[in-house]
Amino acid sequence: MNARPASFHPYARLLHWSMAILIVAMLFVGVGMASTVSPLRQTLLALHRPLGLALLVLVALRLAVRLRHRPPPLPAALPAWQRHAAGASHGLLYGLMFALPLVGWAMLSAGDYPLTLAPGLTLPPIVPRDAALYALRRRAHTALALLLFGTVLLHLAAALQHAWLRRDGVMASMAPWRRRPGQSG
């Protein structure tokens, strides 16, 4: 009954890859819009807010899927430090995926910025107005985003290392395509 699956649940893989694309896009949109005074800023801002909310919904779904469907085990041959690094970085990724949209929302609430997703659709504040906390959260939002980008890069490098150097099936367990029988293990 407790046998671990050979690969991630199809929902987990679907969420992983769709969120991967959205998160990388969000990080580029975010640093881009924060660094310019050109009209492009407004276009990026109009993307950033609804995308951020969508990612918050997606990471909540993803956590539910993760808790319901156990992930496949890491290969037994993996050194302990890599096993720990994998666990810690996945925990960090989940934490940041929740933290970034929530800090973003709380920052706008504290700064009394209406969170308008589309004309006529304004979300309510989630924390009281507080300028000092706005400043703190605004800076935290940037710092956490840079940390997320760094963690994503490490995650990508580690995944490619599994795929191309160790060739131990870890990358395949999250592959977006269906695994052929016999490829598992």
């Binding site: 640093v31 050109s38 407004q42 304004t122 300028a131 706005y134 400043a135």
Partner: protein, 364 residues
């Protein structure tokens, strides 16, 4: 899983290099998006740095329009705007709460009021659906610069030299020689009187915007707040002798006596009127409509007032009002946000008005 064939040293190196190249390329693209590879990019931080360089760093205060007072009131729509914009505040009978701020131009929070600078009215209307309309307006219908790049260049050219405390005349002259629109603005300031009070000033939208009606039709507009109080002229010759806070004290005294009212008037762009150039006035014969009445009821100190921690970001707009293609709008939005992040993170000292006992008496 069967153990794969071991890799040769060459294969290993090649694959490691490929991984490093992929991660490196992504990091490089990220750095490019963030502007880290292009120091010449006009960032919000550079605009705010230029303002601080011009007027000095005054922690806790706005980097522009540093001296101000909060006002509270409401706006009542008369229905005439409903055909132009679906924004709820223009419907007949609509009443929405307003928080505002009167300010004088410049980044020095203790500057005396007797200077030839912008007199400004900024407003934040809160609509029933929670959306807001924020607008920062000046008493001059035209702006000195048309682009964020020129705004920065103008700030740098007119920056006081440390030795003299005055801008370098040669740099100012060089800037003005290249910018007829800034000369036109300076001429306008020279030729037109300053209003004697915040209460009898007309305040203009600075930029053009678009009004969107229920059918989705967009029209380019500018707006202004026209006072009920009759215009009176400030004597520029005696300006420097006036009390440091006379404009703000006058406003607070008038508000103690009763509410102050302005009519919101919108001007529709005619053919050929530029929506993207705040330095150019539109012809006087353009169609205008009065959309409603702003009533301001009281003033409060910024220190504990509702306007200090607001940015009057001109791109916080409700459905029915949208940005024009004026390049200043995104720059104002970005620079105000950066200024807010900086000042909100600093301890807020007491404002000049809070330290003026006679002013405090009038807003008590």
């Amino acid at each position: 899983m069967p153990t794969p064939e071991p890799l040769s040293a060459g294969q290993r190196t090649l694959r490691l290099t490929a991984i490093a190249l992929i991660a490196g390329a992504l990091a490089l693209a990220f750095a490019a998006s963030a502007g880290w590879l292009t120091p010449a990019r006009l960032t919000p931080g550079r605009i705010v740095d230029a303002l601080q360089g011009h007027d000095g760093l005054h922690p806790g205060f706005r980097r522009a329009h540093a001296k101000g007072v909060c006002v509270i009131g409401e706006f009542a729509g008369n229905g005439a705007g409903a055909a132009l914009s679906k924004a709820a505040l223009f419907a007949a009978g609509a009443r929405v709460p307003v928080v505002g701020r009167f300010s004088t131009g410049g980044g020095i929070p203790d500057a005396p009021d007797g200077r030839v600078v912008f007199h400004s009215m900024a407003l934040s209307f809160t609509l029933p659906d929670g959306s807001q309309w924020r607008t920062g307006m000046n008493h001059v219908p035209i702006f000195p610069v048309a682009t964020p790049q020129d705004f920065l260049a103008f700030q740098l050219a007119t920056r006081p030299a440390p030795a003299t405390g005055k801008p370098d005349p040669a740099r100012v002259a060089a800037y003005l020689a290249a910018h007829p629109e800034t000369r036109a603005f300076m001429a306008w300031l020279r030729e037109h009187p300053l209003p004697s009070s915040f209460a009898n000033g007309t305040y203009y939208s600075v930029n053009a915007f678009r009004f969107i009606d229920a059918a989705g039709t967009a029209r380019t507009v500018r707006w202004r707040m026209q006072p009920e109080a009759p215009f009176a002229e400030l004597d520029k010759a005696t300006l420097a002798q006036r009390d440091a806070d006379f404009l703000f004290a006058d406003l607070a005294t008038r508000l103690r006596a009763g509410p102050l009212r302005w009519q919101l008037i919108v001007t529709l762009a005619g053919p050929g009127d530029a929506g993207n150039d705040a330095t150019r006035p539109w012809p006087a014969d353009r169609r205008e409509l009065t959309l409603g009445t702003l009533t301001l009821e009281r003033a409060t100190l910024e220190d504990d007032g509702p306007c200090r921690d607001l940015t009057f970001d001109p791109l916080i707009l409700p459905a029915g009002i949208a940005a024009s293609d004026d390049p200043l709008l995104a720059a104002r939005s970005a620079a105000y946000a950066r200024s807010f992040t900086r000042r909100a993170g600093e301890p807020a000292p007491r404002s000049a008005l809070a330290r003026d006992p006679s002013f405090r008496e009038t807003v008590r």
